[in-house]
């Protein structure tokens, strides 16, 4: 009996190797960094609103402006092809749902960004201008588009690297929003 049991050792080793391989291939794209900021407060920042003239006196927007209700912070640029692809979905979300969307125009020309919003529509409550990418560094952004979903207290509850599309909205963002609402209905849990 003992000898027979030993015959199964190679099979067991094989199963373990296949298991590792399966898990490995199931892993996300290695380019998708896990967000270091998840479940942490959105960082303090101070950034101007998107405006064409650089010398203009612009009010600086801070983290306070993002508090009070869940908000989707979307990092975009006119040089980013995927941002064009996700734009229609952002427009739909802005039109059909009550979710606040705030734009961060990342390493872009303000003139091109304003023309983009005029041409394709503006889904954003307001757009911050991050010409040199320093706000992006604070956020751990390494490309565009990237999106952060914040709860009413400014905690990052979800991060997406890549485009927001109907499937992502349905499968990933809606469930998180549902969870937020449940938390908001129970006083004291979310504070």
């Amino acid at each position: 009996m003992k000898r027979n049991a030993r015959l199964y050792v190679p099979l067991a080793v094989f199963v373990v190797i296949v298991g590792f391989g399966y898990a490995g291939f199931e892993l996300n794209d290695p380019r998708q960094l896990p967000s270091a900021l998840l479940e942490k407060p959105f960082p303090e920042f101070s950034a101007p609103l998107l405006a064409e003239a650089p010398g203009q006196q612009q009010a600086l927007v801070t983290r306070e402006a993002l508090l009070g209700a869940p908000v989707l912070v979307n990092v975009w640029a006119t040089w980013c092809v995927t941002c064009k692809a996700e734009h229609a979905e952002l427009m739909r979300i802005a039109r059909e749902t009550g979710l606040r969307i705030v734009g961060v125009n990342y390493k872009d020309s303000p003139r091109a960004a304003l023309r983009w919003l005029a041409d394709y529509g503006d889904p954003y409550e307001f757009t911050l201008q991050d010409s040199d990418g320093s706000l992006g560094v604070e956020l751990g952004v390494y490309g565009a588009p990237e999106s952060f979903l914040l709860d009413a207290n400014g905690i990052i509850v979800y991060k997406r690297v890549g485009d927001i599309n109907p499937v992502i909205w349905e499968r990933e963002i809606l469930p998180v929003l549902g969870r937020l609402e449940v938390l908001m209905l129970q006083p004291g849990v979310n504070t």
Binding site: R31, V137, G140
Partner: protein, 150 residues
């Protein structure tokens, strides 16, 4: 003529090397800070490129992060540990080529030792197998008969 051609070639080769290496022009208050800067940007992995460090990458995000490291060192007077903490807080373990030992990285760190131990264990088992007992005379005859069969 030949000397000129060679000279042009040398110049060309030189310019090619320069074109391939990202060059930032930063001012440093002293050589020590510059050395720390060089050390730090060599230490971090570029978040966009899977296997290049910040020093070697031409990606825009690597440029931004080099600028950030320079700002932290020169303007804010940050220590090396503070710079590491700053980048890790924002970009996660991904940017570290030397990940910290935690429970979720334990397999990464202890895996090689584990496999070495398994190998040594298997090797010892094989080496310690008792030698086969010698054949009885009739067994030997039987073996010879089998070997001699056409």
């Amino acid at each position: 003529m030949i000397v000129r051609c060679l000279g042009a070639l040398v110049l060309l080769a030189g310019s090619a090397v320069w074109a391939a290496t990202p060059v930032d022009v930063y001012q440093f208050p002293d050589a020590d800070t510059e050395a720390r800067y060089r050390g730090l940007i060599a230490e971090f992995r570029c978040p966009l490129c899977l296997n290049t460090n910040l020093a070697g990458s031409d990606a825009p995000i690597a440029q931004d992060l080099r600028r950030t490291v320079h700002r932290l060192l020169v303007q804010d007077g940050a220590s090396d540990a503070a710079v590491r903490h700053f980048l890790q807080e924002r970009y996660g373990d991904f940017v570290l080529y030397d990940p910290p030992l935690r429970w979720d990285t334990a397999l990464l760190w202890l895996g090689p030792a584990l496999f070495l131990a398994l190998g040594v264990w298997a090797l010892l088992r094989v080496l310690r197998q008792p030698a086969l007992p010698p054949l009885e005379p009739e067994q030997r005859d039987e073996l010879q008969r089998l070997l001699d069969e056409p």
